[in-house]
Symmetry: C2
Subunit: 279 residues, 2 copies
C-alpha cells in the first residue's frame, strides 16, 4: 500500500507540465497546507533534475490553492555538477497560485568542515514532564500525523495561550512514512502557528516560506522547535528547526506570515468535517 | 551628488528588460557581492510594482555575476491590493546568473498585533568595551561602508579566529546614504562570513539568500547580529538580524552557504587594489 503522502504528491507528465491532483487530506479549514503544496511541487522537480536532495526551497504564495487538478510547471534554470536550480509554478484554472525557486544537490557530496554551537532539544524521551501524544484537533492535516506536544502548548492552540510563542514538539507521519527531503516543507508547516500562543487565533496566511534540508533524516519521529520572535504590526517570522532522532539538525525553515487579532479562539482552526477524530 | 549605491543600482528601460551596469565597487576578490546584485534587481522591480516595500526577497545564485552590462528581466506574477510578487532574473551574455522571487507590500498598512520576545543588542553605545571603528581590510566593498566591530572579531577575519561564529557589528554607508529596503540585501551580505571566526577562510559562495524587511530603518547606523549556528559538511546557514538606532528590528536574513577548509588565512578576502585603505 502506498503512503498517503506519496499518493497525494504523485505527478504524471502532461501537456504543458506535470499533472497533479491537490488533495484535501492536508487542508486547514478547507485550504490545502502551503507546505504540502510545496512538497507536491518538489515531487515534479525530482523528475527533472539529476541531484537527489532539495537543499533550499522558497515559495511565494500568490493565492489560495484549491483541492483538485493542477499543473506543475518546472523550468530548470541550471543543471550543474554540484547544484541544480529550478523555477516552479503551480497552476490551477490557468492561474499561478504558488511560485517557487529550489536548488538541489547531493548531501553525500558534502565533505567540508562541521561545527554546531547549539545543543539539540530532547529528541527521544519526554519533551516536558507533561508531554502528551495525540493530534491536536484543528484541521484535516492533524489526522495525517502523530504529534507529541507539551500540554500547555496543546491547550494554547485551543484557546488558553501560554503567552510564549515558542514550543518544542515531535511529529511523524501517522501511516509510518519515513520523513525525507520531499516531505520537509510539509513537516515544517504542519504545526499550528506559534502566534496562537499569544492568543492570535486568526487565519495566518503565509507570504513566503523557505526550507533548508541540511541532512537526510534518520528513521523515527522528528523533533521541531518553533518560534516567532518578532511580530510587528501583525507580520511575523516563524522559524522551525527540525532534528532527527540521532540528535542531528536535518532542516531549518523560516516563513513570513500575517496574523490578525480579531478572530475568536479556535475560530478558524476548529476541526472541519474531514477530520474523523473530532467530528 | 548621487550616492554611490544609487549610481550603482540605476536601471533604465531597454529592449527585453531593464538595462543596468553591474559595478565593481561592491566586489570581493573581483566578484560583485551577491546582496548588491539583489539590490540592483530590486531597483528594477521598484519600477514595475505599485507597493513601496520589498517585504521578502529570495535569490538563488546560478553562476558568478561579472562587473559590466546586464539585463534585469522582471515578470510581475501578482499585483494585489496588499501584496505584489515578481520573478526576476539577472542576465549577462544571454545567461541567467541570479534568479529571484520578491514580494512587496506597504509597511504603513500593517495594523495587527506586535510582540517581541527578544531584546535588541546595544544599538548606540559601544558594542563591547573593545569596539573599534573602521573598515576591515578585505575587499573593495569594505571601503563603501563604515563598520564598527569588536576587536576580537576584526582580528578573527584576518587570521586569528575567535572560535565562535557569532558577532554583533554596526554598519552604515560611508557616503552617508540612509539605509532602506532596497539596500537591505546588500547590508546583510556586507560583513565577512561568520565562519571565518572558525578559521574557515576559503571562498564562501552563497547558494541562496532570503531577506525580510520588517520595518523602514530610522536614520543612523544599523546594528547587525550575525551567526552560523550549524555547519554540516561545509554547508551552513548564516543568519543576520538588523536593528536600527531606535532599537527596532528592521530586517532578518538567512543564507545557505558553502565553505572550504583548505584556504590559507585571509587568502581570498585579502584586500584588492580597489580598496585605497590598504593598498
Amino acid at each position: 500500500m502506498a503512503y498517503t503522502f506519496d499518493e497525494d504528491t504523485a505527478v504524471e507528465p502532461g501537456p504543458g507540465g506535470w499533472r497533479a491532483v491537490v488533495s484535501d487530506r492536508w487542508s486547514i479549514a478547507g485550504i490545502p497546507n502551503g507546505g504540502y503544496v510545496m512538497s507536491l511541487m518538489l515531487r515534479a522537480v525530482s523528475r527533472e533534475v539529476a541531484h537527489p536532495d532539495p537543499l533550499t526551497t522558497t515559495a511565494h504564495f500568490l493565492s489560495p490553492t484549491s483541492p483538485g487538478p493542477a499543473l506543475v510547471r518546472v523550468e530548470v534554470l541550471k543543471q550543474g555538477r554540484s547544484l541544480s536550480t529550478a523555477a516552479v509554478e503551480l497552476v490551477q484554472d490557468g492561474r499561478s497560485t504558488v511560485a517557487m525557486l529550489t536548488t538541489w544537490g547531493n548531501l553525500d557530496d558534502l565533505t567540508g568542515p562541521s561545527n554546531t554551537s547549539k545543543n539539540p532539544p530532547p529528541v527521544d524521551g519526554p519533551i516536558t514532564d507533561e508531554a502528551v501524544v495525540g493530534p491536536p484537533a484543528f484541521a484535516a492535516i492533524a489526522s495525517r500525523f502523530r504529534y507529541t506536544l507539551p500540554v500547555d502548548a496543546t491547550e494554547g492552540f485551543l484557546g488558553r495561550p501560554t503567552g510564549n510563542p515558542e514550543l518544542t514538539g515531535r511529529i511523524e507521519f501517522a501511516d509510518g512514512r519515513p520523513a525525507d527531503g520531499l516531505a520537509m516543507p510539509l513537516i515544517v508547516d504542519a504545526f499550528p502557528p506559534a502566534v496562537f500562543q499569544l492568543g492570535h487565533y486568526g487565519w495566518t496566511p503565509t507570504i513566503e516560506l523557505t526550507v533548508h534540508l541540511r541532512a537526510r533524516p534518520a528513521p523515527g519521529p522528528l523533533t521541531c522547535r518553533i518560534a516567532t520572535r518578532f511580530l510587528h504590526g501583525g507580520m511575523g517570522e516563524e522559524d522551525v528547526e527540525v532534528w532527527d532522532r540521532s540528535g542531528r539538525l536535518v532542516g531549518m525553515s523560516r516563513q513570513l506570515l500575517r496574523t490578525a487579532d480579531q478572530a475568536k479562539a479556535g475560530a478558524t482552526w476548529r476541526p472541519n468535517n474531514s477530520n474523523p477524530e473530532v467530528s
